[in-house]
Each structure stands twice: as C-alpha cells, then as structure tokens.
C-alpha cells in the first residue's frame, strides 16, 4: 500500500484553532498546563494574548470558561479527556451544560491509544459521561480532515460541544476538497448490504479496512462513520438496520455508554436489530505502544472481521 499520510487529531485541533483564530477575534483557548500535549501551543504561539493557561486546575478552568462565554468570547477548554470529561465532569455538567453556555471542550488523549502512560490516562468513559448531559453535542472525529472541520463547526454552533481527539497519528482518508462535515450527520464510507459497521474515531479506518478484506471473502460490509455521537444520526442507522439487518458498532471507548449503546438504544425502540458492540470490554487499559494495545483490546480490523463473520454465521 502506498504511504498514507498519518496525523494525530490532537494536531488537527491545534492547527484548526490557529486557523480559526486568524479569522475570529473572540476565540480564546484555555489550557491546564498541557498546551504542548494538547497541541494548543500552536494557537498559543500565534495568539499568546488569547491563550489563558489555568495551571493544573481543570475544575476551575472549566467554570472559568463558562464565565468567559458570558462576556461574548468563544472559549475552547483544552485538556486530556480524562480530566476534561472526568475530573471536571461536574463543572461541565453544572456550569456549562445546565446553563447551555457557548463553551467548546477540546479533549485530547482519549481512549487507550494514549499508550505508554497507561490506564490512569486512558479515558474510555468520556463519551458516556458527555452523552448523558442534556443538550451536549459530542463529536469524535476520525481523521485530520474531519477533526479540523469539526472544530470549525463547533465554533459556529451556539452551545456546548465536546470534541474528542487522539494522541496517536492516524491515517487521513477524507478528501479535504470534497468532504463536508455537518454536526449530527453520519457518513457512509463503504457500501454494502450484508451487514453494517457503525464506527467512530480511529475505528472508522479499521472498519474500512475490514470492509475491504471482507469483500474478498464475498461479504458486502457497509461502513458508516459516525463522527457525531450526539445528536445521533438516527436516519442513517435505521436505514442501515433496514437494509442490512445486522449491525456492528466500533469505538475506542468502553462498550458501556458510548456509540454502541447509543445505537442499541435507538434500534431497540424503533427497529429491533441484532447488534454486536466492539470496544473496550468493561476493563481498564494498560501501558504499552498504542498499536499493540489497540490489537490486544480488539480494536482492530482483524477483530471486526471476526465479529462480522460470527454474526453472519461464517
């Protein structure tokens, strides 16, 4: 295979902030001593006066952002997913979610692909936490093109948005020239009528590779990229359930509370359909190189192929 360009979506976040910062004076960025890691340092270098370091104090940073937003600024709060959604959950819920303030939460280092730092920093619960907050938009982009588009869409959307980014460089498969991102819209990235994989984040590329491999075995596997976890694109899920009859969900997140359960919740009420959830199986991660961890925890093309074949009885 030809060399595929790989970019971590945290880099996309920093680059998108800088690009938007050039256009919009009211965009400000907050960090909790992680500007280098969240890649907001890219923005900070260009606009130091609009970058507010809050020190290692995520709870305060999150509620500070709520206050900033009431003065006409559009704050992007940045930290690792573990702290942005975990440590500061209650600030997000009560100071941003409940008053529905125009704050964007940029959460990097999500999922087990954090790698060597280990389980304490591998947040596999953030989608569940953020989905449960009324009115919260939750976006988990799959590659660089989509991530940058999502940051721009979040800026223009009025209300709270949770953006999930990864540390690991992942293949870029969207075409910048043609791809149009829209909040709440899923995207069919591979056709097929035998079964559908609904994937999000870095699992989208794994699902596309799985679809290609399955095709050689005579299985037509549709793949949907579900970048927006909430609000869920119900139409595209119901259509896939109607047309393919079987669904596999794939996410670098606990099988509890994320995309898989969002899809199951929808289908169980509107169109009962067999679903298998691929994700982190109610366990903590561990230290190790990201790619090895993804394989070990079943977040791979190979495991998706296996699950699809099991579902089809092959």
């Amino acid at each position: 295979m030809a060399d595929v360009k790989k970019i971590a979506t945290r880099d996309s976040y920093g680059n998108a902030l800088k690009a938007l910062g050039e256009k919009y004076d009211n965009l400000v960025v907050l960090d909790a001593d992680l500007a280098g890691a969240t890649k907001t340092a890219t923005f900070q270098k260009a606009f130091p006066e609009r970058h507010f370091d809050c020190g290692i104090a995520e709870a305060n940073m999150t509620a500070v952002a709520a206050g900033l937003s009431t003065t006409g600024l559009v704050p992007f709060v940045s930290s690792f997913a573990m702290f942005a959604a975990g440590r500061a959950f209650e600030q997000v819920r009560n100071s941003i979610g409940y008053p529905h303030l125009n704050v964007k939460i940029g959460a990097t280092h999500a999922g087990i692909s954090v790698g060597e730092d280990g389980a304490s920093h591998q947040c596999n619960e953030d989608l569940a936490l953020m989905r449960a907050i009324p009115g919260m938009v939750v976006i988990n982009p799959a590659d660089d093109v989509e991530a940058r588009a999502a940051v721009e869409a979040a800026y223009h959307y009025v209300g709270p948005v949770y953006l999930r980014f990864g540390r690991l460089a992942v293949p870029v498969f969207h075409d910048e020239e043609t791809y149009k991102f829209e909040i709440g819209k899923g995207e069919e990235v591979c056709p097929g009528d035998d079964i559908t994989i609904i994937a999000t984040g870095l699992m989208v590329k794994e699902a596309m590779d799985a679809s290609r491999a399955l095709k050689e075995e005579g299985i037509a596997c549709r793949v949907i990229n579900m970048a927006t976890i909430k609000p869920l694109d119900e139409e595209i899920v119901l259509k896939a359930a109607r047309e393919t009859g079987k669904i596999v969900t794939a996410e670098e997140h606990s099988i509890i509370g994320g995309l898989g359960e969002a899809v199951c919740g929808l289908l169980s009420e509107k169109l009962p359909t067999p679903v298998r959830r691929v994700g982190v199986m109610d366990t903590f991660g561990e230290s190790g190189p990201a790619l090895e961890l993804l394989k070990k925890y079943g977040l791979s093309c190979e495991n998706l192929c296996k699950v699809v074949k099991e579902m089809l009885g092959k």
């Binding site: 709520a66 206050g67 409940y98």
Partner: protein, 281 residues
C-alpha cells in the same frame, strides 16, 4: 451615604428578608439562614452600587453578580424582585413545579441572574471567567461574587483564587459571608477554613474584614475594591446567620429548613415590627 439613603436601604433590607421568609415558607424547603445573613450586601449592591437595568436584564454594560453560594437563592430572588426584575408576588412560587424560581438559580429562567449556581465552588470560577473576559476586552464591567464560609472548603475555590490573583483581576470583588455556621455545625469544628483573611492574602488578594451587616462598612469596602489596581479584592464579612428572625439567629439548624406556619407568622410579625420601626426612624 446620607442618613436618608441608609434608612431607605435598611427598609429595603427588611422587605428582602420578608421575601426570603415568604419564599421558603411557601416552598416548605430552602435555605433561609444563609440567605438572611447576606441581605445587607445584596441590598447595597443592587440598590446602590451595581450598574444594572431591571427593564433590560441582559444589558451588556451591566455589572455582574454571581451567587457562588447558590443555595441562598431566596435572597437573590427576593433582592431581584424588590429591585423590579420580576413581581415580588412570584416569590411564593419558589421551588414549585413549573416555577422559574428553581431551588438554585438558573440564569436562563430568572431575569437578573447572571450565572447558574448551586454546586459550591463553581460560581467563583465563573466570576473569574467573567472578570477575565471583561478585562481581556478592555470593558469596564465589574464582577461581584458571594461565597459562603463553608463553601471555601471546596478546593476549586482556591484554584479560582490563584487564577484571580495570577491574572490580576482588579475588576473582581469576592465577598465571603462569614456567619461561622454550615449544615453540620460551626465551620471551625466541621473543617476549619480559618484564618480566612490570611489565606486570601497569601493567595494574592487585597483583603479586608468588615461587619457584613453594616451599610457604611460595605460601602467603604466596595470603594476600596474599586480603587485597588493590579490585584483582586476580597471582603470577609462577619455576619449573623438568620439575622433579624430571632429564633433563626446563629442557629445552624436553620441553614436548610423552612419555617412552618407558626414560625412563619412569628418571623413575619418580627420583621413587620422592625419595618415599622425603621420607617418611623
């Protein structure tokens, strides 16, 4: 301030206290004790000091007030109602299903409420964000926030204090309602935050300690805050929890309990007598 102004503020304060009793009695729940202790501060801010317009609650040039001790919602509501943001009559709907007067303040439902609060420690952070936002945009709006003395046991409060001093938020004035009581008893026995003034100084604030139920001292403290440049200002207010309702004064039990019908009658009789005396002075 003139004696006439002070007389008017005292009368207003008593009316606000009556509204607190009306609301919590009608709700059969709520927090009268810590509401009654900060009445003079809110009376001064909303009737004398802050740049606000009850007819235009979202006016961009207004000063902001964040009730970080959000459980004192009856106080904020009664102050806003008496100031003309909404009908005083509505105070009786406090905590009722469908009412906009929620148990803790909701900025999207109540005219004049600048921040949704109730979870302790978060309001002061939001106030810091507002002050930072105004300063960053070179806007003259001032930000006031009121914390409970029990509330400052929350770690986030001290994260916020660090932030305020680090960013030299001299448009921010933090008040601590030091009535010395929290739900479980005296703050010094539950988990002492003392010495409050020394802690705030160490965190980079200009600090003064006042009698929080004395209008002259409140006025002077606010003037000092406005004159202070380069650092945030904190005022530790010594207050009496449950002030002006005899059986509630200095009683931790009245932190989060509503008066029953007989207690309501007694409280209103005491406040009515006080009001009459203040009007005749």
């Amino acid at each position: 301030m003139t004696n006439e102004e002070k007389k008017a503020l005292r009368i207003t304060a008593t009316k606000i206290r009556m509204g607190i009793i009306e609301g919590t009695h009608a709700a059969k729940s709520g927090h009268p004790g810590g509401s009654l202790s900060s009445v003079e501060l809110l009376t001064y801010l909303y009737f004398k000091e802050m740049k606000i317009d009850p007819k235009n609650p979202k006016w961009e040039e207004r000063d902001r007030f964040v009730l970080s001790k959000g459980h004192a919602a009856p106080l904020l509501y009664s102050t806003l109602a008496n100031r003309g943001f909404f009908p005083v009559e509505d105070l009786k709907t406090l905590r009722h299903v469908g009412s906009y007067l929620q148990g803790h303040p909701n900025m999207n439902e109540v005219p004049g409420v600048d921040m949704s609060t109730g979870s302790l420690g978060q309001g002061v952070s939001a106030a810091c964000g507002m002050a930072k936002g105004f300063k960053f945009q070179n806007l003259p709006n001032r930000v006031y926030t009121l914390l409970g003395d029990g509330e400052i046991q929350e770690g986030e409060v001290w994260e916020a204090m660090m932030f305020a001093a680090h960013y030299q938020l001299d448009n921010l004035c933090v008040f601590v309602d030091n009535n010395n009581l929290q739900i479980d008893g005296e703050i010094s026995k539950v988990m002492s935050p003392y010495p409050i003034d020394e802690k705030l100084k160490a965190f980079g604030f200009q600090v003064e300690v006042i009698d929080g139920q004395d209008f002259d001292q409140i006025e002077q403290a606010v003037a000092h805050a406005k004159a202070t440049k380069g650092k945030p200002y904190a005022v530790v207010m010594k207050t009496i929890k449950g002030k002006d309702v005899s059986y509630m004064e200095n009683q931790a039990a009245w932190h989060g309990k509503a008066p029953n019908d007989a207690e309501y009658e007694q409280a209103m009789a005491e406040l009515s007598a006080l009001l009459k005396k203040q009007e005749e002075e």
